[in-house]
């Protein structure tokens, strides 16, 4: 049993907003996480787990100002400004993996949120409305990868009566435009420093530290990528996909660096599983509550060798100009702007990881990924990679039809043989 399920089962009948604000609860979580019974597959996972447990606990117990952000907002800025980053979209994945999402999604529905919107955000808003999330002091979003975060954060900001800010990432990528973004990032950092009660000098030091951790993490991450390109690398994409939270939420922290360093080392040590699998790429995210689809892959001798969101997409940050290089980091992301960029990124991955086929998981309500699916499919087919698109929902398990899905999956895998 996983840690999340274990905690859920112990607390299910007394799950209340107060639970998460009690020290006792966090002590229990900590003990369970450290217990020898909870043995994550990879040493690195233990590091990320304890990082997220600590950050989430501190956020609930308000040990430092809490800043909500969306997936592409660089955590370096928040960590480097003495605040705790909290990524609600990832919280939704955890809630979904505990099988608790439907209740919160329904709560958002009662408030008037349409079931046509992304269930990550409906789940988050439902949790927020019920008082289950750590109260933010500030909400920061960039206007990518999708429209959902800026919009739902705006609602949440009103709910909590705190400021929220959306940063416009310029499409052009020109330096003068990036400077405008960098200035806004710097303003955000100044606001966070004052929330954290730090002065500019302390801030500079902390930001420099965050930048250097982030660069170290990037180097280790590149090593991980090289390892993963090998035939039958032992790290499977369905597990690696959880790394999206490390990538988004812990860059700039010591643990973020440790995670990738340990992973690279362990991959080197463990070597490869040895031969003959169907190599697949996974696009968009997975249903967090279901394992069946991955068991089916395994049964058919298929393996996810890479996945869309967990790869390094930026260059090392310049310690002399941290904000400008963070602006470039965001603006250079493949999810910013036209879907052509995304298609290019995926085609590159497909080539580098020598995939035989790719699966696009159409998460209901995700206009950015579903919207670009056809274009991505065409781009991959052009380089000879067959694509299977499957409709589903990453968070709402009620929208998941395993039977139908397995039939299509099996037919697809058959065709790849």
């Amino acid at each position: 049993m996983g840690l999340v399920e274990d905690i859920r089962d112990r607390y299910l009948d007394r799950l209340s907003p107060a639970t998460f604000r009690s020290r006792l609860f966090w002590r229990t979580v900590d003990t369970l996480a450290r217990s020898p019974l909870n043995r994550p597959q990879w040493k690195a996972d233990r590091v990320s787990l304890s990082y997220f447990i600590r950050a989430t606990r501190d956020a609930y117990l308000r040990r430092a100002p809490v800043v909500w952000s969306n997936l592409l907002f660089p955590s370096e800025i928040i960590i480097g400004s003495g605040c705790i980053p909290f990524y609600p979209e990832m919280a939704a994945a955890v809630v979904a993996s505990a099988g608790l999402a439907p209740r919160f999604i329904d709560r958002a529905g009662e408030e008037g949120f349409s079931s046509d919107a992304c269930s990550y955000h409906r789940c988050v808003l439902g949790c927020a409305l019920e008082g289950f999330l750590p109260e933010p002091d500030l909400l920061l979003a960039v206007n990518y990868p999708c429209d959902s975060a800026p919009l739902s954060f705006s609602f949440a900001a009103d709910l909590y009566g705190v400021p929220h800010r959306v940063l416009d990432v310029p499409l052009s990528g020109e330096e003068e435009d990036l400077e405008i973004l960098a200035e806004q990032m710097e303003e955000c950092a100044a606001a966070m420093l004052s929330l954290a009660g730090m002065d500019a000098g302390e801030g500079r030091k902390k930001m420099a530290e965050a930048v250097s951790f982030s660069n170290l993490a990037l180097r280790a991450m590149r090593r991980v990528e090289e390892m993963r390109k090998r035939d039958d690398c032992t790290l499977d994409g369905k597990d690696a996909m959880g790394g999206v939270s490390v990538l988004a939420g812990s860059m700039g922290s010591r643990e973020g660096t440790e995670y990738y360093r340990l992973l690279a080392e362990e991959l080197e040590e463990r070597g490869c599983a040895g031969g003959g699998t169907i190599r697949l790429m996974w696009m968009h995210l997975k249903p967090w509550y279901a394992q069946g689809i991955f068991d089916a892959l395994e049964r058919h001798g298929a393996r996810l060798v890479c996945e869309e969101y967990t790869h390094a997409t930026w260059e090392e940050l310049d310690p002399e100009r941290p904000f400008l290089s963070l602006a470039a980091k965001v603006a250079g992301h493949f999810l910013v702007g036209p879907a052509e960029r995304r298609a290019r990124h995926l085609a590159r991955l497909a080539r580098d990881y020598r995939v035989h086929g790719a699966i696009h998981y159409n998460h209901w309500g995700c206009r950015q990924s579903c919207g670009g699916a056809m274009l991505v499919k065409a781009a991959l087919q052009e380089i000879g990679v067959p694509v299977l698109t499957i409709d589903g929902d990453c968070v709402d398990e009620r929208e998941y039809q395993e039977g139908q899905l397995s039939t299509r999956l099996e037919a697809f895998l058959e065709s790849l043989r």
Binding site: S148, D158, S172, A339, R367, G371
Partner: protein, 338 residues
Amino acid sequence: MSEENAVGWFCAYTPLEILDAAGLTPLRRFGDPARLEAADALLHQAICPYVRACLASVTDGEGAGDAVVSRHAVFVNSCDGMRRLHDAWRARFPEHFVHLLDLPRNQDRAGERLLAREFLRLLATLEDFTGRTIDARSLREAALRREERRLAYLERARGSSGAARLRLAMGFQSTPADEIPGTEAGGTRGGGVPVLLTGNLLNPEGLVSVLDAAGAEVVCLDLCNGDRAFSSSTLPAGDDLEGLCASLARGYLERRPCARMADARRRADDLVKEVRGTGARGVIYAGLKFCDPYLYDFPRVQKRLREEGIPLLRLESDYADGHVGQLLTRVEAFLEML
């Protein structure tokens, strides 16, 4: 107007004066709501039906849709839907002029600076495309003509309501700048129950005509294909192109905001003000499906209107509005309650 000069546009934030100044004829496309499924091969079904209708109208075996056949197009990076429409369009018409104009969400100084730079970039791209230099004078003149056209619409639309008013607004958007559209104003005011209609973009032949039939008098058409594009002046001041673009950027950002802008509170405030100012007795919130900006906007507006004691009815449209007649009783019941 030759086909080469026509350029399609889709979002109410498109700076038409810049396209005019380049000697082009910007015409808004409304797509072909009757053939949405023609877009299936290019876009997922859970994407804004307006976007899908626009794409459907340029797929093979073209149906009724837009009269203009030009494939040149200027898109605004306003929402995921529009971005995806741009992507599909560019992939399909690689030889045509296809431009994606960035639009900040913030109405502050940074937003203005970014948008002004986008306008200048658009000018440069248009110069390349048309081979014609655009100077400050031609931009100023084009802006003046646009302002006259805006006032002409407001004049013609005075006293008109509902579907007729919407058709008129759409006519003003989809005909060349020097043409006054033939659509007759109508749906004369008076007699109906005054309501305010707010939402993204609606088909005048569908949901809006049901409001008319039910006896509503839509005194304010807060839609992106309705009054919103005409709501305030964007007439710029400035001596050179840079100054003009900066001023133009301010004008566009200060306009009555669409729900995708960052300042959502302002949208709710504006709505309440408008209800009080026009004497509307209730608000009809009607939007196209799968439009995130409005899906997330609704709960806030609902909450605010409740606090203000303003009755609200929510309706949903798939743009084609085939079964919209079924809404009649709901709308009638709502109006009766008012």
